[in-house]
């Protein structure tokens, strides 16, 4: 194995050698630079492989004398990985900078080489003063590389950085010499061994060095100069600063803290402030590079937290720190490199990526890497970190980190929304092969790191999960025509169902049936779309993969990974809608917030066990169990859009594409219900401060049902109406579950099936109608019954089923439901729920009345029936509804028996075609017959009577001369339920919407105001730094 000192000697020697070349041999100088960096990468990679195979750490002595008398270096697993990261990012930076370097000549190349050398030295050295020398080298090299930017403002940024670095070096040198005086050594390992605190002056001296290294990490809030550099430097250099320099400085801090365990909590606190503060300030950013700067600061803050929790993390330290660091470095480098391809600096300019799907995919991957979504390394690392923190009792820290992560996800995904939904400029991103190479290398690195961390995690590699691989396989296949991909998707889903269903228990089977064959059924409607539909299938399949992995999961990790996957997949799907940008953002922020609650719940329950079997949820420590229950329940209820947490749903479901709305409404919502099923099965009811939590859920369910329905009746937009109706429907299901008795659960399951069928059917019909009429506003429609009879039938059957009148399955649901509440003790929520029933009639009536009856609008005279592929699944669903209404036992009787083992209370008696409960019996077939007879006779009577009716022509009316300001106000179907609005409107005050809007406004306004702290004045920044130093000193000494 070659000596690691070559990692310093080779770039340095090359830098000197460049001066010997004739001035005009720029190409040769450039080739030499690349070669030196490539050799460095190869050496680091060779060491990494050696250490990965289990080699012992290697000490490198210089000058033939032992430390502490001569400078010693060390290379081990972490160091070699860090070195590889540094050399590779420098290599790609050199590639990326090709034109600039060739123009500036070999001096610039030499500076770049020395920068890489200095960072390697920071990682390798074990000598404190040597650390200082390499630190100064990075500072000066930074001063040089900043000038590579074409932005004239970079000059000012560079100067600000230099003066801040002056203060840092003063502190570092002063501290260093006193450390030497106290400890008689400059060797870091010896210093670690002698516990400086106990030596006179040792603590203070250590503090000065510590704070200087922390300042070099450019942590919030004393980091104004760093943000200016990120914003104005050449993106390739910003990438290098963020990825490589950040890594090296982190190594320095880690080494230093080996001897200062008393300072670990201080590091944790500083890191935590940095993580949250920088993420908060980033909310108000609209310059892409400055945003990336803030994000870098935040990520380094998180890493400092990890360093601060080193003792707690134990042997998982490298795994956690490495995972987060690698994700950060790859993503940041990739994003900065991408930013060099984008013309404008505003976030909206990233819409240019829409012209290049591959780059958009890279962008999505980088964002996911940063947020720590599966299957990237940050996901595994954060999972581990959260578990260790929870087990160590650092709950507040965990909460803060999750809050910061949510902020981060918020602004990153908002940015992603701009890229996906913005108007792309005429010109796509510049085509520069060497820049593309860098971006794609970061992309490949990100996925490879995801695979590696999956392997290392010991939790099961998500990139080995077949459903996920199936979804990912659609990425390379995205060039195929949409119809081919659709067939593949349907085949895959049905195939998986056939393959897996014998292994499911009845509960899983119900959900799986809704997800897979149900999903395939809805996908039939997707045949309607021609072309390629880039991006649709990977997203949809990701969602379905997540869903099916969710119900197949046996342990907390699998469950959570599936949960995140389905969340991301559905987010991408929803984002596809034409005006869905804002709604998709609110959907994903709520979903991730819910997911973080679930994560917190699992970690609390697991007490360090990173792969908690779901069946062990009930074994959570008694003191924590209610909290676990609360966190998980609220997390799941975010998905089912329980009242208060529902504001994301209407927009997301209504603005989604025609075939997406039924998926996200009919299928996706069930994920939350499944979670609640699992939770209640495992944990039963829990008491918190004397409140029965299931009782609280009961109330939430009842209120969701009432308010969801109420809000639905006042909608003008048919899809929004259906969306609000989902809130109400999920309220029913929640209520049933919270009853905690047999029939309640049976009813909830019945809702799972029913709601899937009728809601997806209604969304499809309404979507088909909207497609034909070009509007979703119901008052703009009317009289479509003759033109779209099949859609009419679907809607009619659908609303009969929803409203729970005989003879369709909705009635069965109600019947079970009434039986269930008769058994339950809770009367008041029950009354509320009863109230909700008739309200549902109101909005359902509108669907039929306003869309299909009444006068046909002029512009709709030529409207045809909805497209075949949209009608087909609806007709199948009609058949299903009728079938399920006739023989509900087919599906429910096994579940009924299964539930009997889970919750108390008597079940139903399934005998022949009759179902008997303690309170009566229900015979679907008889009812169907009776209702059929009644309907037929009424219809006949109507026909008879109707013969005498007089037809009124469309134009047989008087026109007024006046043209109203808002024409729709004169339409009878507009604001149809105005009287009800007068009476009940106060119920639908958007309190929750206002609350969440106020919260986000507060965060944004706070960020906008507080970031003025970065006044742009370099001198002020140094004062900040000084204040930071003095502040930390006072806090530390005061405590």
């Amino acid at each position: 194995m070659v000596d690691a000192i070559l990692l310093i000697a080779i770039p340095l020697g090359t830098a000197f050698l460049l001066g010997l070349l004739p001035g005009h041999w720029r190409g040769a100088a450039y080739a030499l630079t690349l070669a030196a960096l490539a050799v460095g990468s190869a050496i680091s990679a060779a060491w990494l492989l050696e250490f990965a195979a289990g080699a012992d750490p290697r000490e490198i002595h210089t000058a033939g004398a032992p430390p502490p008398f001569a400078i010693a270096l060390r290379i081990a697993l972490a160091e070699s990985a860090g070195l590889l990261l540094v050399s590779l990012s420098a290599l790609f930076a050199a590639l990326y900078l090709r034109d600039t370097l060739l123009k500036q000549g070999r001096r610039a190349m030499a500076v770049l080489l020395i920068f890489a050398m200095a960072l390697s030295g920071l990682i390798l050295t074990r000598d404190l003063f040597n650390l200082f020398v390499f630190l100064e080298l990075t500072v000066i090299a930074t001063g040089g590389l900043v000038l590579l930017s074409s932005d004239p403002r970079a000059l000012g940024a560079g100067f600000k950085y230099l003066i801040a670095a002056q203060l840092i070096s003063i502190l570092l040198l002063t501290g260093l010499i006193f450390i030497y005086h106290a400890g008689a050594t400059l060797n870091i390992d010896e210093l670690a061994a002698i516990s400086l605190e106990r030596l006179p002056g040792g603590t203070l001296a250590f503090f000065l060095v510590f704070i200087a290294v922390v300042a070099e990490l450019k942590l919030f809030p004393a980091n104004g100069w760093a943000l200016d550099i990120y914003e104005s430097a050449h993106p390739a250099f910003s990438a290098l600063v963020s990825a490589a320099a950040g890594t090296a400085a982190l190594f320095a801090l880690d080494k230093l803290l080996a001897g200062g365990t008393a300072w670990l909590p201080v590091a944790t606190a500083i890191g935590c402030v940095s993580f949250i503060g920088a993420n908060l300030f980033a909310l108000a950013q609209d310059n892409d590079r400055r945003l990336l700067g803030y994000s870098s600061v935040a990520q380094l803050g998180l890493l400092v937290v990890v360093v601060g929790q080193r003792d707690l993390l134990g042997e998982a330290y490298l795994f956690v720190a490495g995972g987060i660091l690698l994700a950060h470095a790859l993503a940041k480098a990739g994003l900065f490199w991408l930013s060099g391809l984008i013309e404008g600096r505003d976030l909206t300019a990233w819409a240019a990526l829409r012209r290049r799907p591959l780059l958009l995919f890279a962008f999505a991957s980088f964002i996911a890497l940063l947020i720590g979504l599966p299957p990237f390394p940050g996901f595994y690392a954060k999972w581990e970190l959260a578990h260790r923190l929870a087990a160590g009792g650092h709950i507040a820290l965990l909460a803060l980190i999750l809050f910061g992560a949510l902020l981060e996800a918020g602004y990153l995904l908002r940015w992603f929304g701009h890229a996906v939904k913005g108007t792309p400029p005429e010109q796509g991103p510049a085509r520069a092969p060497q820049k593309m190479v860098a971006v794609h290398a970061a992309l490949a690195g990100g996925w490879a790191a995801g695979y590696l961390w999956g392997e290392l995690s010991g939790l099961g590699n998500l990139l080995h999960a077949l459903p996920l691989l199936f979804a990912l396989a659609f990425l390379p296949l995205d060039w195929l025509p949409a119809r081919v991909k659709n067939s593949l998707a349907i085949a895959g889903m049905l195939g998986w169902f056939l393959h897996a269903y014998p292994g499911y228990d009845p509960l899983q089977l119900i959900f799986a049936a809704v997800i897979l064959p149900g999903g395939a059924l809805i996908l039939l409607a997707s045949y309607q779309n021609g072309g390629r539909r880039i991006g649709f299938y990977p997203s949809a399949m990701l969602m379905f993969a997540g869903l099916i992995m969710l119900i197949e999961a046996n342990d907390s990790f699998g469950f959570f990974a599936a949960w995140e996957s389905l969340t991301i997949g559905s987010y991408f799907l929803i984002l596809r809608g034409r005006r869905s940008q804002a709604h998709a953002l609110s959907y994903i922020v709520f979903s991730l917030g819910g997911a973080f609650l679930i994560l917190a719940g699992f970690t609390l329950a697991a007490q360090g066990q990173t792969q908690l079997p779901l069946s062990a949820l009930g074994d959570a420590p008694t003191a924590l169990a209610p909290w676990v229950f609360l966190l998980l329940a609220v997390g799941f209820m975010t998905k089912t859009a329980a009242i208060g947490l529902h504001i994301w749903l209407p927009g997301a479901h209504a603005e989604a594409e025609t075939d997406v709305s039924p998926m996200v409404s009919g299928i996706l919502l069930k994920a939350g219900l499944y979670g609640l099923f699992v939770l209640l099965t495992q944990m039963g009811s829990q008491q918190l401060h004397g409140i029965d939590l299931t009782h609280a859920m009961l109330w939430i369910g009842a209120l969701s049902a009432l308010l969801g329905n109420l809000m639905a009746i006042f909608q003008e937009d048919a899809k929004r109406l259906l969306a609000y109706s989902s809130i109400g429907q999920m309220g029913y299901a929640l209520f049933g579950l919270a009853l905690m008795n047999h029939l309640g659960w049976l009813m909830a399951l019945m809702f799972v099936i029913n709601h899937f069928i009728y809601k997806s059917m209604l969304f499809l019909s309404v979507g088909g109608i909207a497609k034909r009429t070009g509007t979703r506003d119901m008052y703009r429609m009317g009289g479509l019954i003759t033109l779209m009879p099949l859609s009419f039938i679907a809607v009619l059957i659908g609303i009969i089923a929803i409203s729970g009148v005989p003879p369709l399955s909705g009635f069965g649901g109600r019947w079970i439901f009434y039986n269930a509440i008769m058994e339950g003790p809770h009367r008041l929520p029950l009354v509320i729920l009863f109230l909700a029933g008739p309200i549902a009639f109101l909005y359902l009536f509108r669907l039929i009345h306003t869309i299909f009856l009444g006068q046909l609008k002029d512009e709709h005279r030529r409207v045809r029936e909805a497209p075949f592929w949209i009608i087909l699944p609806q007709m199948i669903q009609v058949a299903l509804l009728l079938g399920f209404a006739l023989v509900p036992g087919l599906a429910l009787r096994h579940v009924d028996a299964y539930i009997g083992g889970l919750v108390p209370g008597g079940g139903l008696d399934w005998e022949g075609l009759t179902i008997t409960s303690a309170f009566g019996y229900w015979s679907p077939v008889t009812i169907m017959l009776i209702v059929g007879v009644i309907f037929a006779s009424l219809f006949a009577w109507l026909l008879l009577v109707n013969r005498r009716a007089q037809r009124v022509g469309q134009f047989n009316i008087v026109f007024a001369a006046e043209r109203p300001y808002r024409p729709e106000t004169t339409h009878f179907a507009w604001n149809f339920f105005a009287p009800y609005r007068k009476a009940l409107g106060f119920f639908t005050q958007p309190l929750a919407t206002r609350f969440w809007a106020a919260l986000t406004d507060l965060l944004h306004a706070g960020a906008g105001l507080l970031r003025r702290h970065y006044s742009g004045d370099g001198q002020t920044y140094v004062i900040h730094l000084l204040a930071f130093v003095v502040g930390v000193y006072l806090l530390r000494m005061g405590l």
Partner: protein, 118 residues
């Protein structure tokens, strides 16, 4: 003796920082940082000093065998040399920056270089 050197060094650092943080002119800031750096260097050599001992250079009057008992600590002397040289390097760099800034912006006032902020 040592204490006086240390106290002077610390004082120089504080004076230098005060100058650097209150003067708006780039050149004055650079000079002020040089003062502070000098203070640091003074502290560095001050810490290595031992009362009544000789410089760590062996010759006829200071044979190798007596060195441990008669010389001052040589390490801070070596460190200070490095620190001085690095200080020179950064000062040169800052001066060049100041010159460029003056050329391109026509000002040496740091409070006017604020186009990057927030």
């Amino acid at each position: 003796m040592t204490e006086i050197a240390l106290a002077t060094g610390f004082l120089l650092i504080l004076i230098g920082l005060y100058g650097a943080l209150t003067n708006r002119n780039l050149l004055r800031m650079i000079v002020a940082f040089s003062v502070a750096n000098t203070g640091v260097n003074l502290v560095l050599v001050g810490v290595g000093y031992l009362r009544g001992r000789a410089a760590p250079i062996l010759d006829a009057t200071l044979p190798a065998a007596e060195a441990p008992a008669r010389i001052i600590d040589p390490l801070p002397q070596a460190l200070v040399l490095t620190a001085i040289v690095i200080g020179v390097g950064t000062t040169a760099l800052m001066l060049a920056y100041a010159y460029r800034l003056y050329l391109t912006r026509g000002t040496l006032d740091i409070s006017r270089l604020r186009e990057l902020k927030w």
